[in-house]
């Protein structure tokens, strides 16, 4: 996890296009009777450096440049995108959106847009996109990772270090008079280490990140990190396949939070709740988990991977308590979701870029700390699994069926961590799995991930303290 440094100086991001052009586009978009219009303008740049065989291999830079005009006729949503960011291009896209319902007459006059405010909070700092500025230093860092991994073991056959940087500048305005500009950045370094022992091959990957410091890698102990990644790959060489069947599982903190993200998080978004496509529909105020479980989705954590100043509908983000002591307290609500359900928005409207329309999405989602210790949980298990590090997962919100994979795990025998195991997905069903969380640890940790859904791939943090799940289906080998 990255260092999380709070911003010292709130900033006003730049205007990509003149505000007056956006006002004209909003006016045109409302001409045929739409009751809401929004213009989302984006100019983003990204950079990627890669290395193979310890040598620089790839250097790519990219620019996304376009706008989306969104209008609502009641609950109908029309979205038109363009790469033409001239005044004429924006107005043309707005007219095209309005022409979806050509027969109507104007109902709404857009509010005159004010000045974009300075970021109202100081929890999100932003570095600039360094791109090529310190490229040689980055290659040197990546070369160090390769050297450290190969030095750690002669079984290392390849390493793939990768560095990604992204800066997204946006301008968001709507017919309610919302007008904000924002700049979001994130920086990641990945390492995958490949090992081969007499034809048996394994690989392991890790990543580190920051949302505000392009030079964060300089503060990393690269050698130690590469050695740890190598050790994890070597552990897999010695690992047996996981057993098959229902077992108790202790899930460690950090990326272990993917269990809540998949088991419940997606089912608490109005994206599915508004269409009766979630097992959590109609359960507000009901007990959905053991009383030891409190779950929060918080977009305001300083330096958080999923933190934002404004969501992609131009609203300030907030901290939303989803489940408190086992009782369902809130869903995550975007603007259209609010209209459909009558609930208040929670600043959760998010999307990958201007090509998508926002839907309710998670930000930094985690289970709040409890009182148990990791040792205590492991002692409680006669035969089960300790999942130290997790891979990704997925869910079908309509059925609650979810899955996630273990990356590094060990058998627990008679209350003690025993031999390493590999290769298993854990599966369950949302509410049912929540009820089986019987102990919650005290050490909360958040980890970075990319979350994919109908509005694209977005940075979202998952997290939890260690958890004991009394029984879950482990998809090992029979």
């Amino acid at each position: 996890m990255s260092s999380a440094t709070a911003a010292k100086n709130p900033v006003i991001a730049r205007e990509i296009v003149p505000k007056s052009w956006i006002e004209k586009a909003l006016d045109q978009a409302l001409a045929t009777g739409a009751d809401f219009a929004e213009v989302f303008v984006e100019d983003s740049s990204s950079s990627m450096l890669s290395m193979i065989d310890g040598k620089p291999k790839g250097a790519t830079v990219g620019r996304q440049y376009g706008a989306g005009v969104r209008v609502h006729f009641g609950l109908e949503e029309i979205h038109v995108t363009t790469n033409d960011l001239t005044e004429a291009g924006l107005v043309k896209a707005a007219k095209k959106a309005a022409q979806a319902r050509p027969e109507g007459e104007r109902k709404v006059t857009p509010v005159k847009l004010g000045d974009a405010p300075a970021k109202p909070f100081d929890y999100m700092a932003h570095g600039d996109l360094a791109q090529v500025a310190d490229r040689q230093e980055k290659f040197q860092f990546m070369r160090g990772l390769d050297t450290a991994a190969r030095k750690r073991s002669s079984l290392v056959t390849q390493t793939e270090p990768l560095m990604l940087e992204k800066m997204q500048e946006v301008q968001i305005a709507n017919s309610f008079g919302v007008y904000v500009t924002d700049k979001r950045t994130n920086y990641r370094v990945f390492l995958e280490v490949f090992v081969d022992d007499q034809g048996q091959k394994e690989s392991y990957h890790k990543n580190e990140w920051s949302v505000d410091n392009p030079s964060f890698f300089k503060a990393m102990d690269g050698q130690k990190w590469a050695e740890q990644t190598t050790d994890s790959a070597l552990t897999l060489l010695k690992a047996d396949f996981a057993p098959a069947g229902e077992l108790p599982v202790v899930i460690d903190n950090g990326f272990g939070g993917v269990i809540f993200h998949e088991a419940c998080g997606h089912g608490l978004e109005t994206t599915s709740v508004a269409h009766n496509a979630s097992v959590f529909c109609g359960k507000l105020g009901e007990k959905v988990a053991d009383s030891c479980v409190t779950a929060i989705d918080d977009g305001t954590i300083a330096g958080g991977w999923g933190s934002l100043s404004y969501d992609d509908e131009g609203r300030p983000v907030q901290k939303t308590t989803l489940i408190e002591n086992g009782i369902l307290k809130s869903y995550m609500v975007d603007q259209l979701g609010a209209k459909k359900t009558g609930l208040e928005v929670t600043g959760s409207g998010r999307k990958q870029n201007y090509k998508f329309t926002p839907t309710s999405r998670m930000r930094n989602t985690f289970i709040a700390p409890g009182t148990s210790s990791l040792d205590e949980m492991i002692r409680d298990v006669d035969y089960g699994i300790y999942a130290k590090d997790m891979g990704g997962g997925s869910v079908s919100p309509g059925t609650g069926d979810f899955n996630f994979s273990i990356q590094e795990a060990y058998l627990i025998k008679n209350g003690k961590i025993a031999t390493p195991i590999k290769g298993a997905s854990l599966i369950g069903r949302g509410i049912d799995a929540l009820g089986k969380i019987t102990k919650v640890g005290s050490e909360l940790k958040l980890s970075a991930g990319m979350c994919g859904s109908v509005s694209g791939s977005i940075p979202a943090a998952v997290g939890q303290p260690p958890l004991l799940v009394s029984k879950i289906l482990v998809g090992g080998r029979a």
């Binding site: 890669s50 193979i52 065989d53 040598k55 620089p56 291999k57 250097a59 790519t60 830079v61 620019r63 440049y65 376009g66 609950l75 109908e76 029309i78 979205h79 038109v80 995108t81 363009t82 790469n83 033409d84 095209k96 959106a97 979806a100 791109q131 040689q136 056959t157 390849q158 793939e160 990768l162 490949f194 091959k201 690989s203 098959a244 269409h275 009766n276 496509a277 097992v279 329309t357 990704g392 997925s394 079908s396 919100p397 309509g398 609650g400 069926d401 899955n403 996630f404 994979s405 590999k422 290769g423 997905s425 599966i427 069903r429 109908v454 289906l473 998809g475 090992g476 080998r477 029979a478």
Partner: protein
């Protein structure tokens, strides 16, 4: 000046700049239109209209390759792209194997990828297609409670590739895709089912069939039970077989061979898969989504035999790795996020001779796997090890007797595909670029209900 003339002029300027810098340059320009619509609760939920434009500028200098992309096609933005790509190429030019562009070929295959720009299809007609993908599912059975996700997408576009060796080729493509994801409910049970399609032509679209297939899959699962843990004879339906086989793309790549991340290294000429499996790369089949007349570097497309009777015959190459490893050029260059990569166009497994009914009769009890999920996390592409949540049905003496859910299939793709003993004559039609028949395997590991229960 038209956009096409403008691009020609800009590229001529970039070529001059590249020459001055003793470098080579290539530019790919893609422009297109996309229309999507989706219905919910029998009402229009959303429709989108997207106009897209992008350019990729690739600069080669010595062993260095720099790439820059943009969605702003102004001369100024393209010049910035060139400058950034040239800088990257210089940074990466560290005396390794020299890179080179592909020269124009004498001829290119004629692949019919463009039917219409769809402007002629009235909006009302397109909305009707989207409506039916929801409606047909809802009307099939009253237990279909809703269709949370469904929709139709029409897209058309033009790709133009220019390079400083004089190549200037373009092709148009168009396609219509649709999908339907239905929920069926009975009591407190809620089950889902999904299906999709892809077509070039806007006639005889399988709207009803797609909606019914998704809904039927959901309805089938309402009576599903959890199977017992164990090893069972199994049929992987064509959708599932295609998904599992999709990982071959990485391992067949000459780049993966060179970088030592492929399980197929040093396996050419070896019986890697079952003799039942014959697999080719086919970029020339106009009905498949991955087809094109030339690859991302401009090498003319061709069919390539990959496995013949299970024996590995060829790796997939782009121009650089064909040269470096002394392999035949197969025209499989694709633009990856880290530069010019290699991938199959359409991976096509030849059909077998048995019917599906014959496959499910190959053992007294056969578990048919109809769906897997969680592929991105449960499949370890680098090794082929998998552990995937699945749905399916138990067949006894060739007859379906019980739907199955809440279980996990696991194994290794290479080992599993070596154990295949029969393939059906039925290929998947889900609109994907991997095409496969149903496959029978004598033993598949299933994690479900504990044995002692």
């Amino acid at each position: 000046m038209s956009q096409q003339q403008n691009i020609t002029q800009v590229f001529s300027d970039l070529t001059a700049k590249a020459k001055a810098a003793q470098a080579q340059v290539e530019m790919t320009v893609s422009e297109g239109d996309k229309f999507s619509a989706t219905y919910q609760d029998r009402k229009l939920k959303k429709y989108s209209s997207d106009q897209t434009a992008s350019a990729v500028v690739r600069v080669l200098k010595g062993s260095g390759v720099g790439i820059a992309t943009t969605e702003n096609l102004s001369a100024e933005s393209l010049a910035e792209c060139f400058a950034a790509a040239l800088q990257s190429a210089k940074d990466l030019d560290q005396g390794g194997e020299p890179e080179d562009l592909v020269a124009p070929a004498a001829s290119y295959p004629d692949v019919k990828l463009f039917v219409s720009d769809y402007e002629e299809v009235p909006i009302a007609e397109r909305l009707k297609w989207a409506e039916s993908l929801e409606q047909e599912a809802l009307d099939l059975d009253q237990r279909v409670s809703n269709v949370p996700y469904s929709g139709v997408t029409l897209s058309s576009g033009k790709t133009r590739l220019l390079n400083s060796k004089g190549l200037d080729r373009s092709y148009q493509s168009s396609g219509i895709s649709g999908y339907s994801y239905a929920l069926a409910k009975e009591g407190d049970k809620s089950k889902s089912g999904y299906h999709s399609f892809f077509r070039r032509e806007a006639k005889d679209l399988p709207l009803k069939e797609t909606a019914h297939e998704g809904a039927t899959r959901a309805l089938d699962l309402l009576s599903a039970v959890q199977p017992k843990t164990g090893q069972v004879p199994a049929v992987l339906t064509n959708d599932v077989a295609a998904q599992l086989l999709s990982i071959l793309g990485h391992h067949l790549s000459a780049k993966s061979i060179d970088e030592n991340t492929s399980m197929l290294k040093d396996k050419k000429g070896s019986a890697v898969l079952s003799p039942v499996l014959n697999i080719a790369d086919n970029p020339l089949a106009s009905e498949l989504p991955g087809s094109r007349p030339f690859d991302a570097e401009g090498t003319p497309s061709q069919q390539t035999a990959l496995f013949k009777d299970g024996i590995l015959e060829n790796y997939l190459t782009n121009s650089f790795y064909a040269r470096k490893l002394g392999l035949p050029s197969t025209g499989n260059a694709v633009r990856g996020r880290a530069g010019m990569d290699i991938a199959p166009s359409n991976l096509v497994v030849a059909p077998g001779t048995k019917t599906f009914e014959e496959l499910v009769n190959m053992a007294p009890d056969v578990v048919v796997i109809t769906e897997e999920s969680g592929f991105h996390s449960g499949m370890k592409e680098m090794t082929g090890d998998f552990s995937l949540p699945a749905y399916g049905a138990l067949y006894r003496n060739g007859k379906k007797v019980q739907s199955l859910e809440q279980f996990v299939i696991s194994g290794n793709v290479f080992e599993l595909m070596k154990s295949v003993t029969a393939a059906s004559n039925r290929l998947n039609e889900n609109g994907g670029s991997v095409v496969a028949p149903d496959l029978f395997v004598p033993a598949l590991s299933i994690a479900g209900e504990s044995k002692e229960n």
